[in-house]
Symmetry: C2
Subunit: 236 residues, 2 copies
Amino acid sequence: MQKYSKQTRLLLAVDCIVFGFDGEALKILLIKRGFQPEKGNWSLMGGFVQPDESLDQASNRILKELTGLEGVYLEQLHTFGDPQRDPIERTVSVAYFALIDINKYKKQISDDYHAEWFTMKRTPKVIFDQQEMVELAKKRIRYKAAMHPILFELLPSKFTIPQLQNLYENVFNTAIDKRNFSKRVLATGLLIKLNEKDKAGSKRGAYYYQLNMHNYYSKFQAFMNFIPNPDSISAS
Amino acid sequence: MQKYSKQTRLLLAVDCIVFGFDGEALKILLIKRGFQPEKGNWSLMGGFVQPDESLDQASNRILKELTGLEGVYLEQLHTFGDPQRDPIERTVSVAYFALIDINKYKKQISDDYHAEWFTMKRTPKVIFDQQEMVELAKKRIRYKAAMHPILFELLPSKFTIPQLQNLYENVFNTAIDKRNFSKRVLATGLLIKLNEKDKAGSKRGAYYYQLNMHNYYSKFQAFMNFIPNPDSISAS
DNA sequence: CCAAAAGTGTTAGCGCTACACCCATGA
DNA sequence: TCATGGGTGTAGCGCTAACACTTTTGG
């Protein structure tokens, strides 16, 4: 026996939703699609799965080809298989999401790859069912960030507590009391205070912190319960 | 433009992990595979996605064809795409998990379809990478059940609090104090007490409850935080 | 010296956990 | 009547949320 005869073979694609944070707002990365149909329209980073690569390999390859990004946090989200989702030919797409620090790659992405960052509120129309993918990805990162420290992936390796709080407030779209916030994050034991200040945000300056990588891995499973308003967060 | 030329098409399959609870233990359903390779060996409910159906439709169809189950809780889990996972030909598989009340379908499943239930501890070897799928599914239901009331899908429409507690103790593999347990579940407002007792489990009998469906849907997003030992539960 | 952001402590209330005894009934 | 499982109440503790003032320093 060599093959499963009589079965139909389908195109399989990967689409990546790339989230970034620049200290101000949570953003997603889009590019202008390079081929028909919908050529020139805004799209997620997507491409076809090749015969010899796994899905994780495909998503990493596509992300690198379209943005130069490599070694970033990338996680499978959901697979979309509506028969009509691509008008040209049936294509099933495995969606992934990535989390990166915008500033680390800002110049490279815009100069070399012509991708652009958009805030959540001002995202242009994207092709096919990609809006649905983006919505699901937003729900998933909120859901996961409520219990796991994944949002650190969006920050530079040195960051301040006000920056971190700003990120959480963005992702959960809520205001958090800064006294309670700093107590909680410091209580996790995940942060190491540095003898250095970020003077960009204020005159007084805010201390930099970095992740305690040992504690990070051991506490990844159970971080803090950070759901400010659980009803606003959806199931995976 | 009619097709994406030059791209390779792949086989796409669906595999369903069916969980059931019989009042005693959490079990999964397996069948003897009906075709080569691995014909006759224990397998999840699987089949190929057809050209005109979505992934959700495919999983529902396959579950019905192989077990007669219809209208049950079914949720997409993860997509497995290692190029070598099927030795005959590359096949990417979208895994789903289902939750059912074993007793409701027990006779039908064993008599008509020759599927069998196995406890978690005594699961036989399954084909390909299906063991990995089962492990991931177990993690996922624990993870989700810690915050959402999905485990009611495993119970009959009338159930007792000791039965419910037994289910939670099974899924989380832990002992729970019965006073605290009943306080918590009753406090959710999801249960309606019936004027009827289950006398099977004890002489005195335990009151039956049923779900308050209105509250069930409105409280689905935020149930109770039921993680008894967070470190034992893995991320999705 | 003033504006703007960083940093820090206390209290009250709620929720969770721990814990033990009585009830109902079939055998 | 006794063994078995069902059902219930309370007290202490820990965690969380609410809340305001001082510090620093560039302009």
